[in-house]
């Protein structure tokens, strides 16, 4: 008997007739349908740069302000209350088991992206010690990835929300390239992976370094925007 990871309600797996006849392994749900419905998927109507849900497909106001520092980000979900609560428990309370909630949706989203090498945004050493995990790689199942970036500054030592927009935009480049990064990146199409797109500063810093490593193209995917 398994329980929903988010609300502890007992789960009743639904077996369809097709699954029964084809003798397929049953998909094992980790959240109940009600909790799952709380997360809001971003449709094709989104900003082509940051991936935010909107009513048109034109570049949004926030992205216009970035000028020619362009980015191509896709996001899976909107950053609504359910997503905030999820990130709070997973990342800030450190409930590592909750990684399972987003594994399947992220696997599907990754399958729709065109890239050669996946590069997750790293966490700094202190976070690794206290939190005990990288919240981004926690979502990956069997997808190969390269830890091509290192964090030099404590770029995430306080929650992004605690800084003003001005402070966030002024942050110094926090990333450097890992020793063998050039070998991995040269001539390749790189997909950066991060948890939440807030201002886009983190991803732009990361993209800058990846290009320095010789990448041919850089796009990004975030769980939420």
């Amino acid at each position: 008997m398994s329980q929903c990871l988010l609300c502890q309600q007992v789960l009743h797996p639904q077996m369809t007739l097709t699954q029964f006849w084809r003798w397929q392994p049953l998909p094992v749900p980790v959240v109940c349908p009600r909790c799952e419905q709380q997360f809001e998927r971003i449709t094709t109507m989104h900003c082509p740069q940051c991936g935010r849900q909107q009513t048109s497909m034109t570049v949004c106001h926030d992205c216009e302000r970035w000028g020619d520092q362009q980015l191509r980000n896709h996001a899976v979900y909107t950053y609504n209350d359910a997503m905030k609560a999820y990130m709070q428990q997973y990342k800030f309370q450190g409930d590592y088991a909750l990684r399972q909630v987003m594994m399947a949706p992220l696997t599907q989203a990754l399958a729709r992206q065109n890239y050669d090498v996946l590069v997750p945004i790293p966490v700094n050493q202190e976070t690794w010690q206290t939190r005990g995990f990288n919240q981004v790689t926690g979502w990956l199942q069997n997808q190969p990835f390269q830890q091509a970036l290192l964090v030099t500054a404590d770029h995430k030592d306080q929650p992004q929300s605690a800084k003003t927009r001005q402070q966030r935009l002024l942050t110094q480049q926090p990333f450097s390239l890992a020793p063998n990064a050039a070998m991995v990146l040269a001539g390749k199409r790189i997909l950066l992976l991060d948890d939440v797109y807030t201002t886009g500063r983190t991803l732009r810093h990361a993209a800058t370094q990846i290009y320095l490593g010789g990448a041919k193209a850089v796009t990004s995917l975030t769980l939420a925007r």
Binding site: Q89, G94, D95, A97
Partner: protein, 438 residues
């Protein structure tokens, strides 16, 4: 308050503790398994982090504990400031029947026995505990008054503040920001007890049958851990579950009964009315004519009422169907409702005439002169205890000791029959004590 005081009888994860504190690992291995030392639950083999540390998911809301953490404690010294002035400042007076129960409880506390006060809804059980609590505080005991429900704690806090005006008190629950204070009397949710270790000489567990204590081994453990080895506890309830009743039969729990309300009028009995397939009608936006007629009657006579429905999703269609029938002037309210407190207050202030609600208002909330109607009383969310509690909202006030309780069901239900049986049994006992019929 100094660092030491904050550790008296507590167990907290710190990077370093004061010199006279002792520390133990937060997660310990017992054979092949790992156990959390705060909540005493077993970890699953999957509860390991990539940095190799283990963490406990069961008590995560209190802040994550990992195998890298240590829990610091200082043995409870009962070092309280002398209370200046009388301990009990309650201006009220117990009825003779309440007084008898209060004396029985005090005798058992003196013997440090674990006990249960089984008092009907509206018996005034809080006040019945006051004499024993005053005695315990006079012994320099450290006492916790806890409830599984934060609502109950919030309602109780000002009452205890008034009744024990000179005794320093602290209120602890999940969503509060005020810093911890070391006090002789602690009022908190059962969850917060997990932060204590052998602290309390006496623990009063209010509404012991309320979710989730009844089903949660974690919270049972919390009481056992927070209590001193020499300590004891008192359970308060109107509707003890099977487990508690068994402990009473096995004499592991001493019991004091109070089957009669403080005003001496017997409990209102549940009237059952069948409405076949009400859910299908509701899907079409309709409610059964007899229910509509009853509620229209209430509105005409100015009788205020609570209408209980099984689920949050039922609130809106029911409200709409009532509006269609011209029954207006009420509000819907549920557990996660942001305006919950304001809506309940509006009902108290009589600015609204009725509330449509889920089981959240089954206990702890009191409105004078109220009628209660349950739609779908045969739904499993309405346990026998919940139904007795819901019926117990009616006739609590001295000036309005009677009222109607009507439960509408699709079919006969065992839980409803058991609830009627429990009320009938209490009323038979109450009548022997001179209780008057409704």
């Amino acid at each position: 308050m100094n660092d030491e005081q904050s550790l008296f009888g507590r167990q907290l994860p710190l990077t370093a503790g004061p010199a006279n504190s002792s520390a133990q690992p937060a997660i310990v291995s017992v054979g092949q398994r790992k156990q959390c030392q705060r909540c005493h639950q077993w970890l699953l083999p999957t509860d390991q982090l990539p940095n190799q540390a283990w963490y406990c998911r069961q008590c995560l809301q209190l802040g994550r504990l990992t195998s890298q953490d240590k829990l610091y404690t200082i043995a409870e010294p009962n070092r309280f400031a002398q209370v200046t002035g009388p301990i009990l400042t309650w201006p009220g007076k117990l009825s003779p029947m309440q007084g008898t129960a209060a004396t029985a409880i005090l005798d058992l506390v003196r013997q440090q026995r674990d006990q249960l006060l089984w008092a009907v809804t509206g018996a005034g059980k809080t006040e019945i505990v006051y004499p024993a609590l005053a005695w315990a505080l006079a012994q320099n005991w450290r006492v916790a008054w806890v409830s599984p429900r934060v609502d109950v704690c919030l309602e109780l806090a000002p009452r205890l503040q008034q009744a024990f005006g000179h005794v320093p008190q602290t209120l602890l629950h999940g969503n509060q920001t005020a810093p911890y204070r070391y006090c002789q009397l602690t009022l908190c949710t059962t969850h917060q007890l997990l932060r204590f270790h052998a602290a309390f000489d006496w623990i009063i567990v209010d509404e012991v049958d309320a979710f989730p204590l009844a089903t949660s081994p974690l919270l049972q453990t919390a009481i056992a851990t927070a209590q001193k080895p020499t300590g004891s506890h008192l359970y308060l309830t109107a509707t003890p579950g099977e487990q508690l009743q068994r402990q009473v039969r096995q004499k592991r729990l001493a019991v004091t009964y109070l089957p009669l309300r403080y005003h001496g009028v017997l409990l209102p009995q549940i009237a059952v009315r069948l409405i076949w397939r009400w859910r299908e009608s509701l899907a079409k936006g309709k409610l059964a004519p007899k229910l509509v007629r009853q509620l229209q009657g209430y509105r005409r006579r100015g009788q205020r009422f609570l209408l209980f429905v099984p689920h949050v999703v039922d609130l809106k269609p029911v409200a709409q169907a009532l509006q269609q029938a011209g029954i207006v002037g009420g509000l819907t309210v549920h557990a996660a409702d942001d305006d919950r407190a304001a809506k309940v207050q509006a009902m108290r202030d009589q600015t609204v005439s009725f509330l449509i609600t889920t089981t959240i208002l089954e206990r702890g909330v009191t409105f004078p002169d109220i009628a209660v109607v349950v739609l779908g009383g045969d739904d499993p969310v309405f346990s026998t205890a919940a139904l007795v509690q819901i019926a117990g909202r009616v006739g609590r006030h001295h000036d309005f000791p009677t009222g109607e309780v009507t439960v509408y069901c699709h079919s006969q239900s065992r839980r409803v029959r058991l609830a009627q049986g429990m009320i009938a049994r209490l009323n038979r006992q109450g009548k022997r004590l001179g209780g008057q019929r409704q």
